[in-house]
Amino acid sequence: MKRFCLLRYVLLFAVLLLAGCNNNEQASLPGVEESLTPEYGDTFIEASIGDASVLLPVLASDSASSSINSMLYNGLVRYNKDLVIEGELAESWEISPDNLSIVFKLRKNVKWHDGEPFTSADVKFNYELYVDPKTPTAYAESFRQVTRVEAPDPYTFIAYYDKPYAPALISWGMPIHPKHLLEGQDVTKSPLARNPVGTGPYTLVEWQAGEKIVLESNPDYFEGQPYIKRVVYRIIPDQATQFLELQTGSLDFMGLSPLQYDRQTDTPAFRRLYNKYRYLAFGYTYLGYNLRRPLFQDKRVRQALSFAINKQEIIDGVLLGYGVAATGPYKPDTWVYNPDVPRYDYNPDKARALLAEAGWEDSDGDGILDKDGQKFSFAIVTNQGNDLRSKTGEIIQRRFKEIGVDVKLRIIEWATFLKEFINPGNFDATILGWTGGPEPDSYNVWHSSKTGPQQLNFIGFKNAEVDLALEKGRRVFDLQQRKAFYDKFQEVLAEEQPYTFLYISEALPAVSKRFRGVEAAPAGIRYNFNQWFVPKSEQKYTR
């Protein structure tokens, strides 16, 4: 289920993705301590930047659809609050000693929203659906690792692999679709896209295009009916408007921007209505160097550029301090994070020294370094529409100038950016971000086999040690053993600096105080949404 997508809407994804917590700021009375008995009722209203497109998880790739789908559907497994895998539709599972098969025991009391029972035939059908070449899905890759599947009885499902595949178990966290409504049909034309039938805690009751989506709790949900009766997604494309709506109390949840969190919500009125939370989001922003360019082929040059960037200054200036410096592709509060890698704290002298060592000197005295008559001058490209990235670029530009490196910043519309710059490898350096999840496998971004056109290792990073670590890392199940491979991977990346890892930002959600049971955990705050409730006396929407 590990899924990378470009971090385009930093705030949105930060809220949507499961994310770990390192801090939690609650103004007063955390609801949990009141020890109230949960009560049913009320409506939870949140805003979404965009409308959902399709409520069939196999086809959906936008974050709005994904977050609604997660309320409507279930997978076999999921991450719990501590990011440990637990059963969802599967009651239990067993991985064979050779790590080549997983036997899932399915729950017996699960029904689809239309009343049909959920069985192993549905799971088998889903495997076939995801790997069917006719299905235009972006999630087939992890299911292609499966060699065959079996459904020996209605509540047993077995997946076989020809090589051990460590992300296998969590890959079965992908939502399961109903076989009886989709079998033998063209999934792209299915009416379920707008009238979904899942097994999840909520069902769709209303969808007004571009306006709102209303979900209602499923009384037959196998883990018990959720306490909150209704969930409404209002489509409000503008963050400023969302924030105004929040201030009037008409939204119950919003992911705040650092500016809003820091400067605009510190009022008694706001504190009376909302609790604010903060935790590190999965995903990082980086400056990636195109290693096919001669300019960046010398490791010392890349290290020098990393030394020349003041990460803390970017975090303070762009994120107002709501983030931490990244040292590699993983965030500090995860098991896979390696704290003992070389760090590149701001040190312009060291940067100059490294560049001099690599032969870059200002021989003509114009303030820009040169070597063999070539000036050290390049362009950083990034995509339009992400303010954080363009500001980061400006700060970096200034710091590079101080060590005699001339940088131009180009901001380009997304589709053009991909087509003209990233895909053909037609860029010097780029500021982008990756969002990830608890699964550390980063094969697609860093392996040397993924440097082809349209693949994710678009900077052309090829390193035998990294290749080996990534290949081994996805083939062992034991966490200790896995960690050793990923530690090595992080060490090599830190030494090589193919990216300058810049920062990991924090998710900054605000939740209405009516809602009790909200508890920040490594998985963020939404993991136990079904247990949230509002005491009868405070329920706001009674119909």
Partner: protein
């Protein structure tokens, strides 16, 4: 007159085909394809997926084949299916957004006319007076002010501080539970800010236009005659001058017909109104060719019809044009 109309209508066809051809080519010249955006930066999406999508969308064909296919569906009034992941028919997507867009635009034009016509007349009659100068400054301030900024200020003031108007959207959450009177009030209260904001930028143009027309007309000999006859100033202005000064406004109204289905992205984004502007903008960003072309065609048809309508109503309103038309025909 009928002959003239038929001739004009026939001429529209080659014009329309020309417009679609140019739009089609220009859109495909923009770098990036819908399949790039749907499959890129996603490690799970293989290159085959992209190829498969290109075949499904017909993007693997040469451009003239794509255009031919699109045009042949269009003449059967089939705008095709959107390339977005929902793959819904373009017509459905447009139709569900059209009513609110038209409603807002009509209300805004009515408001603009209701304010700027009298404003223009009074400004012309009392030329260079204090009133004239003040309104000039005011309407131009409205024109120059960034509408998104004004919108946010007013949302903050009326929505958050005073709490008298809703901030965004078209209906309140409990709309279904209101009685019909409450529903109408709810609708109206949601429309006040958007209509006001979208009208404010248009006041300057219309009122200045009205003013200069009026000044032009007042200088004419027949006004002098009317005054010489001893008619009251009121009758001279409102009966003789105004009718003539309103003529060019018809042209402008005709030209604003295509504007009725066009929306403003910024404005719709801020007020969270699901209108045409946002639909089109998102379509362009996703390179959703059928959707873009569908909206462009509708816009082009309305522009051409609007022009025609303006010509016809001009002929109806102005006896001089009507007579010369008859002599020719």
């Amino acid at each position: 007159m009928l002959q003239y109309l038929a001739k004009r209508l026939l001429l529209l066809i080659p014009l329309l085909i020309g417009i679609t051809l140019i739009s089609f080519v220009v859109i495909h010249l923009a770098p990036g394809e819908p399949t790039d955006i749907q499959t890129q930066m996603n490690p799970q999406a293989s290159a085959e997926l992209q190829d498969r999508l290109r075949v499904q969308y017909g993007l693997d064909q040469p451009l003239y084949v794509q255009y031919g296919r699109w045009l042949s569906r269009l003449v059967q009034l089939d705008f095709g299916e959107s390339f977005a992941t929902d793959r819904r028919p373009v017509l459905d997507k447009v139709l569900e957004r059209l009513p609110v867009t038209i409603l807002l635009n009509v209300l805004s034009i009515v408001l603009i006319l209701a304010i700027s016509v009298p404003l223009g007349i009074v400004s012309a009659v009392k030329r260079n007076s204090g009133f004239d100068r003040t309104t000039t400054v005011l309407v131009f301030t409205g024109f120059a002010m960034p509408s998104f900024w004004l919108a946010l200020l007013m949302m903050d003031w009326f929505g958050v501080r005073l709490g008298v108007l809703p901030i965004s959207g078209l209906k309140s959450l409990g709309y279904e539970y209101l009685n019909w009177g409450g529903q109408i009030l709810d609708r109206i209260s949601h429309l006040i800010l958007p209509v006001f904001i979208s009208a404010i930028g248009g006041l300057a143009g219309f009122s200045r236009y009205m003013r200069s027309n009026m000044l032009e007309v007042v200088r004419q000999d027949y006004i002098l005659t009317a005054r010489a006859k001893g008619l009251s100033e009121r009758v001279v202005i409102y009966k003789h001058a105004l009718r003539n000064a309103l003529l060019p406004v018809i042209t402008i109204l005709g030209l604003s017909v295509p504007g009725l289905i066009g929306g403003s992205v910024i404005f719709e984004t801020i007020f969270a109104i699901p209108g045409m502007g946002k639909l089109f903008y998102d379509g362009v960003m996703m390179r959703d060719y059928p959707l873009i072309m569908g909206i462009l065609v509708m816009g082009a048809v309305l522009t051409l019809l609007g022009n025609l309508l303006a010509d016809i109503s001009y002929a109806l309103a102005d006896p001089r044009i009507r007579q010369s038309g008859q002599q020719e025909g």
